[in-house]
């Protein structure tokens, strides 16, 4: 090989290495980095309409219509499976748009079972409404339970938006729960959610 050919080949290799290094150095938002690259969260926030008929129980199972839940699920929920959907990572958010006329106290219900294993025997989620902590959902074993919290009317925003944040106390590795390679971390398997006027 001539020196010129060798130089050209080396130049090409260096050029490719440089381009690859540039491509691999991500310049992305913190949400993108946390969700896709570091995988430290399962919450990739997205715009949702919050469209919801007050009192409707939304079932998350894969054989149920997904649109209604897609309208309120901002982030934190994995693909629907038979029976429900996993709450993925330490945080999940829901948005209910009830309209400006909503002035009554409300009840938020969630039927779920905790992701538990030998080391973690119960799952707990701190529930915030429009930024204020209102209580704790407790799932003390692996059985499905319906937990509910009252949301006083004074906590509702003037536009009728109800933003509910669920912050998990702990999560479990999905691979120990599912028995196959899965680096995600799960906390609750949610069967249904419902927001209704307080009776």
């Amino acid at each position: 090989m001539s020196a010129r050919s060798f130089a050209l080949v080396v130049l090409m290799a260096l050029g490719e290495a440089g381009l690859l290094a540039f491509a691999a150095s991500a310049d992305v938002s913190p949400q993108y980095r946390a969700y896709y690259i570091d995988r430290t969260t399962g919450c990739l926030p997205r715009q949702v309409s919050g469209e919801y008929v007050l009192g409707t129980r939304l079932l998350l199972a894969e054989d149920q219509p997904q649109r209604a839940f897609d309208n309120i699920g901002i982030c934190g929920f994995a693909h629907s499976e038979p029976g429900g959907a996993w709450l993925r990572g330490p945080e999940a958010r829901l948005r209910f748009a009830l309209g400006p006329a909503s002035v009554a106290d409300l009840v938020f219900e969630m039927e779920a079972r905790g992701a538990i294993d030998r080391t973690l025997k119960r799952q707990q989620a701190s529930v915030s409404v429009n930024g204020t902590v209102v209580g704790m959902f407790d799932y003390p074993d692996g059985e499905f339970r319906t937990q509910m919290l009252t949301i006083p009317a004074r906590m509702l925003e003037s536009g009728g938006l109800v933003d509910i944040d669920l912050t998990m106390i702990d999560t479990r590795p999905a691979d120990t729960l599912k028995g196959k390679s899965d680096s995600r971390r799960f906390s609750l398997f949610v069967k249904s959610v419902r927001l209704a006027p307080l009776q």
Binding site: A26, Y36, H79, K180
Partner: protein, 374 residues
């Protein structure tokens, strides 16, 4: 070129494409009770077809609006660019342009594969029949990148058989712009170069001389260019050049040891349990792939074997989903299977009707929503 497809060969292949289209239409009409050909093409555009359409219209920027973060960055650009251009130039809808582009890929793939079979006409015709009418012929009706991938792989194999490394490098660059596993064609080029040298001279000096072959190094440098170009594009477009890899989390695809993935999948069904699941089909497809790779090794076709082995392992490392389609998309496996079947006359005669029946069954499964080829 010796054993290039003759005019009559091309005509016969074109007749097979027409026959395949006609048979699919009949199956569609029977299965769905619809007679509108446009409905057939629309019905074929399922699952990833929509993603490829998105790519043809321009990659997504910003965070995805769906619940699990899936996005079109996972889909490499060359196939949707070709089908999208066909759609824009001809005014055809995306599903129809995709259908046409994939059928053309199938026809050209069968034609250019002729030199790979030398004087073994029985194997060639069985391969072509399998490609256009056989169990995985469905791939040439879908707006999916497999059709182009198979065509380019066959073109690369022909180039390697002729030791035309620069041509193989150009094909490799196109392969790496079609699917991520296309970048592995560089391995095939390196192995073929080494094998060629060792046939002439088995000394270490011969092996070392490979590293001073400018044409070979140029080919090896060209092979990943498609992937690099796409990664650089993504870096400029949405900030992450490796988004095609990172976005796999949206489909719950996790990278792990391919054998562990295979073992986990195998435990779900037959023979560990008396049930046949989708995972079971994927596991057996992978095992079939490994057997055919072993046959390639036995036939001393090391370059093709290494390419298929690496591609299969990379695919399996991200999970078992779509394994059947990925195995079917590895053209050297189809070539060697045709050679094996054609080595016994009775097997050849059995393979034609069985292949056709499986092809029509696979097609019927696709249009009625079966997931096994997804």
């Amino acid at each position: 070129m010796k054993y290039a497809a003759s005019r009559s060969t091309w005509l016969l292949l074109a007749a097979m494409v027409v026959l395949a289209t006609t048979l699919r239409y009949v199956v569609f009409a029977i299965a769905t009770q619809q007679l509108d050909p446009a409905a057939l093409v629309g019905q074929l555009c399922r699952w990833d077809c929509g993603w490829y359409r998105n790519v043809a219209e321009g990659y997504q920027q910003g965070l995805p609006s769906n619940r699990t973060g899936t996005a079109d960055w996972a889909f490499f650009p060359l196939y949707p660019m070709i089908a999208g251009t066909l759609s824009r130039v001809s005014g055809l809808s995306w599903p129809l342009a995709g259908y046409l582009a994939s059928n053309i890929c199938g026809l050209v793939a069968a034609g250019i594969a002729r030199p790979l079979f030398d004087s073994n006409r029985h194997a060639y015709w069985l391969f072509s029949f399998g490609l256009l009418l056989g169990p995985f012929s469905l791939l040439f009706s879908l707006a999916y990148s497999e059709s182009l991938f198979i065509l380019l792989t066959l073109a690369g194999m022909v180039a390697l058989r002729r030791s035309s490394f620069v041509s193989a490098g150009v094909v490799g660059a196109m392969l790496s712009a079609t699917r991520v596993t296309g970048v592995l064609f560089g391995l095939a080029i390196a192995v073929q170069a080494l094998a060629d040298r060792l046939v002439v001279d088995r000394s270490w000096r011969s092996v070392a001389s490979v590293l001073t072959d400018t044409r070979l190094l140029l080919a090896l440098g060209m092979a990943p260019l498609g992937l690099i170009a796409y990664a650089v594009f993504l870096r400029f477009w949405m900030g992450d050049g490796l988004a095609f890899m990172h976005v796999q989390i949206g489909w719950n695809r996790e990278f792990d040891n391919p054998l562990v993935q295979l073992w986990n999948g195998a435990q779900e069904g037959f023979p560990f349990h008396l049930r046949w699941t989708e995972q079971t089909s994927f596991v057996w497809a992978a095992l079939g792939g490994f057997v055919l790779i072993a046959v390639l090794v036995a036939k001393k076709r090391y370059a093709e074997a290494v390419f298929c082995l690496a591609a299969l392992c990379i695919s399996l490392s991200a999970g078992l989903a779509s394994t059947l389609r990925f195995v079917a998309g590895l053209a050297p496996l189809g070539v060697v299977l045709a050679e094996v079947l054609a080595s016994r006359r009775w097997l050849t005669y059995v393979a034609y009707p069985v292949g056709l029946a499986l092809g029509l069954l696979g097609f019927a499964g696709w249009i009625t929503g079966n997931h096994v080829m997804v």
